[in-house]
């Protein structure tokens, strides 16, 4: 499966759900991130049951406020 995460290609052997994807890309602060799948927001409660397929586009949107919780640690 090849999907786009924040504009970059990401491949996985099998279909992942969103929680698994967050872990696989080592997303920072996964408990606070906002997730968009193909342009639509995904409710946090739906993360475990939302499975990705080839060609999906996922955006991880992070809090950025300065001084407090921070965006991805790259």
């Amino acid at each position: 499966m090849i999907v786009k995460v924040n504009g970059e290609n990401f491949s996985a052997e099998k279909s992942l759900n969103i929680d698994e994807l967050l872990a696989a890309v080592k997303a920072d602060q996964p408990e606070y991130v906002t997730v968009q799948l193909n342009g639509e927001f995904v409710e946090r409660a739906d993360f475990p049951k939302t499975f990705l397929k080839d060609g999906d586009e996922i955006e991880f949107l992070y809090f950025m406020g300065g001084g407090q919780l921070v965006a991805t640690d790259k």
Binding site: N6, G7, Y32, T34, Q36, G39, E40, F41, E43, E59, L61, F63, M64, G65, G66, G67, Q68, L69, V70, A71, T72, K74
Partner: protein, 271 residues
């Protein structure tokens, strides 16, 4: 408003030449009222560029005094201003830049109790969120949604920044994207509070750009987009964001109908 003076024709000549601006547009700018909440990393450059552009009324909200550590990025404040009230320092810089601009200073922190009065003081046309903490950011969003005021949200940290613009009924709001404030007990480490000084310049000036475009009624605003910037890779991304039907303040069944204060952060590294 009355005719532009010869001095204004010269001062704003580079604006007036632009087809999308002209003398008419410059008059709109001179009549505009923009409120900048927080004269820090974001608010400082935004205020300076809006003053240079000739925005007639600029409101500056800040309860703080200028600190030496601010000078690396809050370019509206100079070395001699350390210890001075930020609104005072900001006013002095703006006055020296452009006598056409009237500065309205609010030496306070925005709270649920005062933000409506501050925004309503001049019935500002556009608000710029230049704050650096989440309680303020959520409060500003809520106030602007409830008062139906357009505003620019932004945040910067380390080498990254992001911004979006809210226009009532036409765009998602901050809560569409981030429904809830992160827990108050998440205190940053010292390392997480660093920021490359120029980040505020890039993002703050984008916020000022949005304000000018709104006032002039030109171009496409960042409504329905989150613009993210990574200075290390020099990458800008414009992420399309929809209005969230389940948004708890601007969605179909809003649960938030009034303003309230969140807990303040415990780490003083917030600035």
């Amino acid at each position: 408003m009355s005719q532009l003076t010869n001095e204004q024709l010269e001062r704003y000549s580079r604006h007036i030449i632009l087809e999308q601006v002209g003398g008419k547009g410059q008059k709109k700018i001179l009549s505009a009222k923009v409120l900048i909440i927080g004269t820090g990393g974001l608010g400082a450059p935004a205020a300076m560029y809006l003053a240079a552009a000739g925005v007639g009324h600029i409101g500056l909200v800040d309860f703080d005094t200028v600190d030496l550590s601010n000078l690396q990025r809050q370019i509206i404040h100079l070395t001699n201003d350390v210890g001075k009230a930020k609104t005072q320092s900001g006013r002095e810089t703006i006055n020296a830049m452009n006598p056409d601009v009237q500065v309205h200073a609010y030496d306070e922190q925005v709270t649920a109790a005062n933000i409506r009065d501050i925004i309503g003081d001049l019935d500002y046309d556009f608000i710029i969120d230049g704050t650096d903490n989440f309680p303020a950011k959520f409060l500003i969003n809520d106030a602007c949604v409830l008062m139906r005021k357009p505003f620019s949200h932004a945040g910067i940290i380390r080498f990254q920044g992001q911004t979006m613009t809210y226009v009532p009924d036409k765009s998602p709001c901050y809560r569409c994207v981030f429904p809830k404030m992160p827990p108050k007990d998440a205190v940053p480490t010292c390392r997480q509070a660093g920021v490359l000084g120029v980040m505020g310049g890039v993002i703050g000036t984008i916020q000022a750009t949005e304000a000018l475009k709104f006032v002039l009624g030109i171009g496409e605003l960042l409504t329905g987009y989150l613009l993210t910037y990574d200075a290390l890779t020099m990458t800008f991304r414009k992420i399309k964001i929809p209005r969230n039907r389940r948004c708890n303040i601007c969605g179909e069944q809003p649960t938030i109908t009034e303003l309230f204060d969140y807990e303040q952060p415990t780490c003083s590294f917030g600035r």
